[in-house]
Symmetry: C2
Subunit: 315 residues, 2 copies
DNA sequence: ATATCCATGCACAATAGGTGCATGATTGAT
DNA sequence: ATCAATCATGCACCTATTGTGCATGGATAT
């Protein structure tokens, strides 16, 4: 399972460790056991003749040398990805495994068709799809568990757009809609503005979650401070809360309302049209790989189809 | 023994194969058995999902993809060497193994003191010295069997000065002297010119050898075509031939005459003062490594000392 | 003081990866 | 045309790397 890389897997492990800081978390991300991670890092130090880790309290911490090595390895990894991509391209070769990662609705609406398409066109390609939140998707890319991730762009998160480890491609902007109880005075409207809903009790996710930052960003853009009344983790829960009349919420258009009772979805009008940007991310250098290129193409088509299927987007 | 590299060792094996063309030779150079090389290359193709080799007669041959990958891997390797060197430098770490390679007189006069010096200053460093001819030294560098080679620069050979895999540093120019039988009419002279010896029967190495090209280069420089009477492989043999009055020869100043009877060594005068250039070669990127730097320093000192010990050099 | 969390060492198990020999295919020489 | 030489590869076997699971020990927070 762990033989897909040309760079020493122990260095990959070190990179994951540099990201998450503890041996246990590294083990979880890489799929090894904690003992294995510990042994790998010890071996790596022995082979390289470098001290990469120091005890720090009850954990371990990277030394300056370790940090240096990890940072420097960014270019090494992308160099390899580049080379592999070019070689695949030059010789129209087929790779055997392909890992995809994505988050909930993105995974459902974009990744599933992609995986199906790849399966049919490349019968002997082992496609694996992992559902994971955006932050974890980046970690999984670093850990080489997946090769492509479809995620919601996070502006203020730890992985910037210019991270030397990744390359990102915008797929589509998924507008946020308002969901109201059917009994709400504004429920019969076609559109609403956030200002009109400024005093409503809002339902959102817990602070620190992926969508919470989107939520606050939407309101700060129009200069309104919403009152957060309830918190939900799943869309379904949030919809149920709204249906029960507990408050109102924001729901990405890609998230299906199914046939929820007592809930209506309204597009947002006005200058601040909040949206979540959905992007595809790959390891830097791998973007020219034929499989990646094909996948991105399929994703773009899916994204375009999604936008076309919803002609009211330009409201 | 073979765990010193951060790049997949199978890729290194492929690179060596690209150099020598047969599985057997690759096995000999890398230190594996032929079966192991075969299995490694098969595995590499499986893991990468690329066809790198094709059957060609009774052997195998690189495909276009294979060649592409090998060429592209040059920068990858040097990138890694660079990174490792920088990390070692940044954290004044010590590496555990260090392989040196060199050829006969160079090995004796430059490598041995270097190895001794490194041994004393780095007690727990495993220094290994391999005697090998220049071409093989380059192969051993590619195969990662050695880290530094002291060789005689070859102008027209397969490894040019600008090979992307190596970096070379000039250590010294070792002048070629003439050795004559003591009974020779010119034996009492202080110096001679090649023109004066144009009609002599010459003793040299077999065509195609390292020094044969030096030999011919020396004469073409002064526009003389020597008559090659005898061939010898070892310096000792050549000296014995000269001592027996069979002819005259060229001998690098670094090659000791010991106390050979009936043989005198004369410096060459005139415009064409032939010399063999002795250089140190390392894998590209590794030259900033502390150990390499220290070694090069020691070598330079040795080279300077050698030149000073022979004050007649500027004749 | 006690509970908890984290890394690590150890016994054991799996497996990747090695060698040596036999085999088959191809080329060149007698 | 036969035979020898050369080369790659498959197979049986073995080794040693590298994994897991559990127990241990140090460090912190309650």
């Amino acid at each position: 399972m762990h033989n897909r890389c040309m760079i020493d897997p122990r260095l990959i492990t070190l990179r994951v460790f540099a990201r998450c800081g503890t041996v246990g978390a590294t083990a979880e991300l890489t799929g090894y056991s904690p003992s294995a991670v510990s042994a790998q890092l010890r071996e790596l130090q022995r082979v390289l003749g470098m001290q990469l880790l120091t005890k720090d309290g009850r954990g371990v911490r990277l030394t300056a040398t370790g940090r240096f090595l990890v940072e420097g390895s960014d270019t090494l990894i992308s160099e390899w990805e580049s080379l592999r991509a070019a070689a695949m391209e030059a010789g129209d070769q087929v790779q055997s495994r392909f890992g995809l990662g994505g988050f909930s609705t993105a995974a459902a609406q974009l990744l599933a068709p992609l995986a199906a398409s790849l399966r049919s066109t490349h019968p002997l390609l082992q496609v694996q799809v992992l559902e994971a939140n955006p932050a974890r998707c980046f970690d999984l890319l670093v850990a080489e568990r997946i090769d492509l991730a479809v995620i919601v762009a996070m502006q203020s998160d730890s992985y910037g757009e210019d991270d030397p480890r990744f390359e990102q491609t915008v797929l589509l902007d998924d507008p946020l809609d308002v969901i109201l109880p059917a009994s709400h005075p504004l429920a019969s409207r076609k559109t609403v503005t956030l200002e009109e809903l400024a005093t409503e009790p809002w339902i959102t996710e817990a602070a620190g979650s992926t969508y919470h930052s989107l939520f606050t960003a939407a309101f700060t853009a129009v200069g309104v401070t919403p009152r957060i009344a309830h918190e939900a983790v799943e869309w379904e829960t949030q919809i149920a809360f709204v249906g029960a009349g507990l408050g109102v919420g924001l729901l990405p258009r890609l998230a299906p309302l199914h046939n929820a009772e007592n809930v209506v979805r309204l597009h947002i009008a006005g200058k601040g049209k909040p949206a979540r940007r959905i992007v595809a991310a790959v390891r830097r250098g791998s973007i020219t790989s034929p499989l990646i290129q094909e996948s991105l193409g399929i994703l773009q088509v899916s994204a375009a189809r999604i936008l076309n299927d919803r002609p009211k987007d330009d409201l």
